[in-house]
Symmetry: C2
Subunit: 520 residues, 2 copies
């Protein structure tokens, strides 16, 4: 077991993670990287077909040509979400090939990947570095995985791959449309999912890249979100994704009166503090409250005659409507949350801008979009009185969610966490979050159904909100109200000693760790 | 002076080039690179403005922040061609700053850069690695430059930057439109020039990147041909390019009857050998014969009811017409040769595909477009009886032209060199080319006004051309006809001993060298 130290946030973290050094978190912007980006091997066209046809007969043939060894790192992306049909047969093939101790580096794993637990059990898969939603998170939480789970934000995953912290041997990129050279996109085909940005770093930095598609079209496949010049092999499968499951489950506007109230108050707050003004920008992706927020904000924009410069998606029906109706010049799409979004991206390529974790989130670049956005609406599983927040574990300590772009988005000019003040009688506002994912100094506003709390550090926002029509309260007061309702703060959960996962900050440092839970 | 050796093409080349090792050419596809791509330093958003505003007051301020040292490498691109208004003031500034022995790595230099000769004379600029058209080529040819000139193809320049052979300290990227983050494109603005692909490698691999624009617009500037996440500083100037000079001078269809005949015969050859068929592709950029070829081919396509899958530009009026009239699905734009091309690229973004030397030409990638094209039309200054060709020197040995994409295009399925058999009474068909730029085994056809010669290696083409209506002759016969007309082969030119420039092959090896000429 590696040494444990307390980091700058007071959290106990391991100094070694899966055999590589872990740098303890130093503060939001305190760590300065040294050294150089990962340098992939130089290839030569002399080793690739001159006619550009890289199609091979099967996924197994492609994998065999990659000359994989035990212990290799295999990556996939999660643009198909719970409708992914590639990762499971990929791992069946790797198992058939007799490989052992492989690491899986998905951008995220979903419930549909539960069958892969057998490969963690039997030694084919050593451990997972990537967001683990559902059963794989539970498996990790229960302390059954041989290596540490490593959770990174979307931007942090790009940073880790770019910086060589997560070196990938073979990237398997499932693509709704591709050509024989390996150019690929997600905007067309029976498994259309929108962008393929989560696979960008993999395509640039992995030693070998395999594109897998069910919709092979003649060169040139455009837009080439993945460029064929980075691809080694192309494989045609019958079906790479289940369209019914690709669409996120979180694209329904909330019907809960409490959550509608949160959304409405947040929208009024944004309008009345002057954040909503001509040329402003906001992020509103999936999630019932967020969608509702976008609808309320749209009404307020209409009343005030305000137009946004851009909206950060995931695109969905509601944002696409705003684009069509002239409420914004552009949508910047990181992913796409419903089929209206996918369709609009295909039909309106000049106003839908395809983004990636490199352009949007990578903290080890020369700036990114996340910090330029005027206001973002995010969720959390817990928020504490110092505005620190948690998105990966529940109050029982069990790992249940990935970080997504959440940490990256905290850099916006105004970050609003929209949360119900309690869930199932368990307070969301707590004294100390179970797992620290986002430092309080980056979280500006907490919006609950009982009112809005502004981070005391943001004296400018407090001033701007002086005549705001929504109830503004100190976070301690909100918490006290919740505690009264729920019967006081919850009992601390008993967790095991064993560290099962590390939570990375956007710069690759370790902001917290997750201990074994009694779950399930 | 470094050691000289004979390479696999029998050409004498230096084994050391400007202090770095030179690998002698080994054959078209014989050299296999080892090692890894250049790894640029890891940066952090902590060192860039969170609001995305990287605009600084002046080019000098930007350069000073780059902390340049004597001997540094400065790069620029040539999308403005002879209308570039940035390189000259850039070098005035570098001189003012007191810097010495800098290397200039332009993608190409033009006559408008003649004023920079003074900096070669006075020590500010040590030497140039990049295509030298006109006066700078003459200067190099005359043996006056301190370092060796290094001429690379467009793809070879990308390869050299990617592989670390041409490490750039500061890239100065002139952009017709940009935003404060550094996102930039060439499709809009008073200096619109089309793509910015020649600056792509610079933006990815240079240690520091400065974007200079005369058309700063609010974020997001799309398309982002250059991505702001790779850019350090943005500078606003009054004018970055002279639109009248941006357009190439070689976009007039030839009026010479001899050259029209070459174009017509080449088009008939392509049609009658079956290369022209539904879904085929061809490259036809600038140059009077090439444009004329495109027009003849269009007529033949019309008659035969044939549609191309894609045309490789330089877009120009004639290709844009073909796109509009349905003769092709796509134009793949590497650069843009006239304002019709620029306009169409802006107005029809789904059928104009923006390419770069990475996608089109880089030989050290996993394939590229050049080898996938059915037929390309190229020029040459000399072709010999073994189909070897020269594009950089004239028969007097003087360095006059850059390689451009010429070497890269030789990999097409059928490469046609369209050349008059003599120019100014000097034969173009010779026994041995003055400078070897392209090995004969890649050159399939030589088309002259006196007939067409097919490379004997291409028995398939010879067979396909059996019933061709154009005169097909052995190249020796063509040469004999020309020699009779011009009074025999020209006297060998007396050249100096001093090597003034190295010609790189697409894989970074040295295919030939250029000796000092008596020019001017």
């Amino acid at each position: 077991m590696s040494e444990l130290v307390k980091n700058a946030a007071g959290r106990v973290v391991p100094t070694e993670i899966n055999g590589r050094p872990g740098v303890p978190y130093m503060g939001v912007a305190a760590y300065r990287p040294t050294g150089n980006k990962l340098a992939p091997p130089i290839r030569s066209c002399a080793d690739y077909p001159l006619d550009g046809n890289k199609v091979v007969g099967s996924l197994r043939e492609a994998l065999e040509r990659c000359e994989l060894k035990d212990g290799a790192v295999i990556s996939t992306h999660h643009h198909f979400r719970n409708g992914d049909l590639v990762a499971n047969p990929l791992w069946d093939t790797l198992a058939d090939m007799g490989l052992k101790d492989l690491m899986w580096a998905p951008s995220a794993a979903f419930a549909c990947h539960a069958p892969l637990i057998k490969y963690l059990d039997n030694g084919v898969m050593h451990h997972i570095e990537g967001s683990m939603n559902g059963p794989l998170g539970e498996y990790c939480s229960a302390g059954k995985m041989r290596g540490l789970g490593v959770l990174r934000s979307h931007g942090g995953r790009y940073q880790a791959i770019q910086d060589g912290e997560l070196p990938i041997d073979v990237a398997v990129i499932a693509a709704p449309t591709a050509d024989p050279l390996g150019n690929a996109n997600g905007v067309r085909g029976p498994s259309a999912c929108g962008p393929l940005g989560f696979a960008l770093a993999d395509s640039l930095y992995a030693k070998r890249v395999i594109v897998v598609t069910d919709n092979l079209e003649p060169f040139p496949c455009i837009p080439w979100q993945i460029q064929g010049q980075n691809v080694d092999y192309v494989v045609k499968l019958d079906k790479v994704g289940d369209p019914a499951q690709i669409v996120s489950g979180t694209t329904q506007v909330t019907k809960s009166p409490d959550r509608q109230l949160i959304a409405e108050m947040a929208a009024r707050f944004v309008a009345e503090t002057g954040i909503m003004r001509n040329g402003f920008s906001f992020q509103a992706g999936a999630g019932g409250i967020t969608l509702s927020f976008a609808l309320y904000l749209k009404e307020l924009m209409k009343k005030a005659g305000v137009k946004a410069r851009f909206i950060r998606g995931g695109s969905n029906k509601y944002l696409v409507d705003m684009l069509r109706e002239g409420f914004t010049d552009f949508i910047l799409d990181g992913q796409t949350f419903d089929l209206d979004g996918v369709r609009s991206m295909h039909e309106d390529p000049r106003r839908h801008i395809d983004t990636s974790p490199f352009t949007s989130y990578n903290y080890h670049g020369k700036g990114n979009f996340a910090s330029m956005i005027d206001v973002v609406m995010l969720g959390a599983t817990e928020v504490d009185v110092n505005f620190n927040a948690n998105v990966v574990t529940h109050s029982d300590g069990a790992l249940q969610h990935g970080i997504g772009g959440w940490q990256n988005c905290l850099f916006s000019k105004c970050t609003i966490l929209a949360v119900p003040s309690f869930r199932d009688r368990i307070p969301v506002l707590v004294d100390k979050v179970t797992t620290l994912c986002g430092p309080g100094e980056l979280i500006d506003v907490v919006a609950t159904e009982r009112g809005i709390a502004i981070n005391p550090r943001r004296t400018d926002l407090i001033e701007a909100a002086r005549n705001c029509s929504v109830p503004i309260k100190p976070i301690e007061q909100l918490k006290a109200e919740v505690d009264r309702l729920t019967g006081g703060p919850p009992e601390p959960v008993a967790l095991g000693d064993k560290i099962v996962a590390a939570i990375k900050w956007v710069d690759g440092t370790v902001i917290d760790s997750v201990r074994q839970s009694r779950f399930p």
